[in-house]
């Protein structure tokens, strides 16, 4: 799919859309763990953003607006490929990930292991986690992007990090040493 930017759009808007591509792709990949799909989702997101550019009132809200469109694109994708799945349950559904935890455990690459564990999280938790950690969104922004209450954002984030902590820190070799290191680490 190609995207053609129509002439006549304000240059600032166009430049800002282009500038968001990298972070949108990173976010999309963290949600689906499929590079080709992530690229498609970003393309679709930018297309929709162009089609609905008049909906954006303030350029300062561009990031959150694009994240919201991206979340809708992902839901639409799963709606197409999982027509029989109850979308209300999708947020709590653990989606398949190419790399199994067993494979990840044998991998010496920490990045692969973390991605595998993030991939095992229910989609709703994964989206909240990555919006906060990768995009630096506030809880209020995440609530608006995903159209969920802020309490849900906090609980999902809490559960996601607790799960990752259990799987990545508690089970990891050398966790005892890290535990000791934590004790002397200074928290700002």
């Amino acid at each position: 799919m190609r995207i053609t930017i129509p002439f006549g759009l304000p240059g600032q808007f166009r430049r800002n859309l282009e500038g968001c591509r990298g972070s949108l792709y990173k976010l999309a990949y963290s949600w689906c763990h499929d590079a080709a799909l992530a690229d498609d989702l970003v393309q679709e997101t930018l297309l929709r953003a162009l089609d609905r550019s008049e909906q954006l009132r303030e350029l300062a809200r561009l990031k959150g607006w694009l994240c919201s469109i991206l979340a809708n694109c992902l839901r639409d994708h799963y709606r197409r490929v999982r027509a029989l799945v109850d979308l209300e349950e999708l947020d709590e559904t653990v989606l398949a990930h190419d790399e199994t935890p067993e494979v990840a455990h044998t991998s010496t690459q920490l990045v692969s292991r973390v991605r595998a564990e993030v991939g095992r999280l229910p989609l709703g938790q994964r989206q909240v986690l990555t919006l906060v950690d990768l995009e630096g969104c506030s809880y209020a922004e995440v609530a608006e992007i995903l159209t969920v209450p802020i309490g849900t954002v906090m609980s999902r984030l809490c559960r996601a990090r607790a799960t990752l902590k259990e799987r990545l820190l508690d089970e990891a070799p050398g966790s005892a040493e890290r535990d000791n290191a934590n004790k002397i680490r200074i928290v700002r």
Partner: protein
């Protein structure tokens, strides 16, 4: 590890994410100074946050290939990671391992 403080996990996460107002932040910061278990829990949250950020610092890029010649390109296009110049010139199409499209 025994938990002796009354700071919930949600509040600990909010502390790490900078989501607390001044009074709540100050209350937790004060407890951090004297509660070892709270300090360890907050450090673990911070560590997990750093791990997640590091895991996606450089995500793999999708493979790109030229578009079909019939897909005429007009006007300016968005650049795409891993193929911006190519994409601007020719457009782009993903290569999928299951794709057998030679048309």
């Amino acid at each position: 590890m025994k938990t002796e403080h009354d700071v919930s996990r949600e509040m600990q996460n909010a502390f790490v994410d900078g989501e607390l107002d001044r009074s709540d932040w100050g209350r937790i910061a004060e407890q951090l100074g004297r509660d070892e278990s709270l300090r360890a829990e907050v450090c673990e949250i911070r560590t997990v946050k750093d791990l997640v950020r590091g895991a996606y610092a450089a995500p793999p890029q999708a493979l790109l290939a030229p578009t079909h010649p019939n897909e005429a390109t007009t006007g300016r296009e968005f650049s795409r990671p891993g193929g911006s110049l190519f994409t601007r010139t020719f457009g782009a199409r993903k290569v999928r391992p299951w794709s057998n499209d030679s048309s």
